[in-house]
């Protein structure tokens, strides 16, 4: 029997790693770290988890140690956040190019300066091009589920890519919610033992990480890209199978009351659940408004996204990150994904929720009303924000 318990998202992720029976975890154990490696360290020390726990001297070393572990065929897990992910950045690319199916939970946080450890999506957007499969969670249950799912998908011989599970720093990582934990037997049914075909072994010598001169680098990168795009098939299969066993269903683009919606709001991560309250109120009053959320961020779910957005007149994109001099990164991508579509909605970008600033129901009311105004005017302001004391710094009105 599965059981329903109160768990912090960080503990839920650690529990998923334990039930996946990881072999190696390497992490840098202080700020900006979370309770994920802390709980894993406890599990290993208490004998609840038979794994090598490597406390390293930096995040750069954490990911390097994970590469080594994955190279010999160990099921490998790590976690980081914000500045830690930035320090790890160089090695993050190597994991995907060397096709090591490492799973990493990232508790999304703002990047300094001003110094901040609070939540936003700046760290996630800085690694969007690293070649990892990336998904976003809306609540603690999803953090557990998607961590488990990440091992299954990444380790599939047709995939062999690392997977990043993004969960919002603090609003999820440090918040306790009810989580349904499955039976170990169900987990074992969903997640087979990791059999890495290319594990380094003195009996079967091979080289990992050979260097690519100009004669071969392009071919290697394009081959990687082709394989990465193909991974979507297994991603969908993985969710399908997950739904069959655990009864919770996941999709590349999640929809909430979208039937016949003329206005669509797009959010990612935990703010989606706040937005649902506002969508409910407006729907009940008869407004044709719905909510979508990008679950799968890489590979980008073009087909599903275009299909769902088809009938809408306005698409409002809330970004919790700024690409300086450009706007919201999610906005840039979804607008680009729709550029050649006929008909296509007017896409409006609002930036908010930076560095742990809450996005309240009232803020969503403002986001929706203001976006409709902008869509009507047809003009595009350079920088539209929500929840920012704009008059103080001269960006609004």
């Amino acid at each position: 029997m599965s059981k329903r318990v109160a768990l912090e998202a960080s503990f839920a992720v650690a529990e998923a790693a334990r039930m996946a029976d990881v072999d190696v975890t390497a992490a840098y154990p202080i700020t900006p770290q979370t309770h994920i490696p802390e709980r894993l360290a406890e599990m290993v020390a208490d004998g609840e988890l038979d794994a090598a726990y490597i406390p390293v001297e930096s995040e750069h070393s954490a990911m390097s140690a994970c590469l080594g572990a994955a190279a010999v065929g160990a099921r490998t897990f790590t976690a980081t956040a914000g500045q830690g992910l930035e320090l790890m950045h160089e090695v993050v690319y190597v994991a995907s190019s060397m096709r090591y199916p490492i799973v990493m939970a990232v508790c999304n946080r703002a990047l300094s300066a001003p110094l901040s450890v609070w939540g936003d999506h700046s760290d996630a957007m800085a690694v969007r091009d690293t070649g990892w499969i990336q998904v976003f969670c809306q609540n603690n249950q999803e953090a557990f589920d998607l961590t488990l799912w990440a091992f299954r998908v990444g380790e599939d011989p047709k995939v062999l890519f690392p997977v990043m599970v993004h969960l919002d720093g603090f609003t999820l990582s440090h918040v306790t919610e009810p989580v349904i934990l499955p039976e170990q037997s169900e987990v074992d049914r969903f997640l087979p033992k990791f059999q890495y075909l290319f594990a380094l072994n003195p009996d079967k010598p091979m080289t990992h990480g050979a260097f690519g001169p100009p004669e071969i680098y392009s071919e290697a990168k394009i081959a990687q890209e082709v394989a990465f795009r193909k991974s979507k098939e297994i991603i969908l299969q993985g969710w399908n199978e997950f739904g069959n066993i655990f009864g919770r269903h996941y999709f590349p683009v999640e929809q909430y009351r979208t039937a016949g919606a003329k206005t669509l709001l797009l959010t990612m991560g935990s703010s989606t659940e706040t937005a649902k309250i506002v969508i409910d109120e407006r729907r009940d009053k008869g407004e044709a408004i719905g909510l979508i959320s990008l679950r799968l961020w890489r590979p980008f779910p073009f087909e599903e996204f275009r299909q769902i957005v088809k009938g809408a007149e306005t698409l409002i994109v809330l970004d919790r990150c700024i690409s300086s001099g450009m706007g919201g990164p999610v906005f840039s991508e979804v607008r680009s994904a729709l550029y050649n579509e006929v008909p296509k909605p007017k896409v409006v970008n609002i930036i908010g929720g930076l560095g742990g600033r809450d996005i309240s129901e009232n803020d969503f009311e403002y986001v929706i009303d203001r976006s409709r105004e902008i869509a009507k005017q047809g003009s595009e302001k350079m920088l539209e924000t929500v929840g920012v004391r704009g008059k103080m710094i001269g960006i609004r009105g």
Binding site: S64, G68, P205, M206
Partner: protein, 85 residues
Amino acid sequence: MEGKTIKFGKNLVTTRESLAPGHNFCAGCGEALALRLALKALGENVIIANATGCIEICTSPLPIPLGAFLGCIPFLKTLLPKSQE
């Protein structure tokens, strides 16, 4: 691939070559000689992890059959500042 020991230095060094012909170290390179002897000393039950440098560049340019140059030893190469933890 059992190596034979040399008569005048029994148990001192094996004739087995882990640094196989085909590498592109410069003639007389000290690092190559050191690597060759180190690999003899390390034996067969070993995996090498190596940060970027001449040893990587001279033993593993793609596209070659994987492991061709360091014919008998599994090899993992990664970034400049970091040999494996």
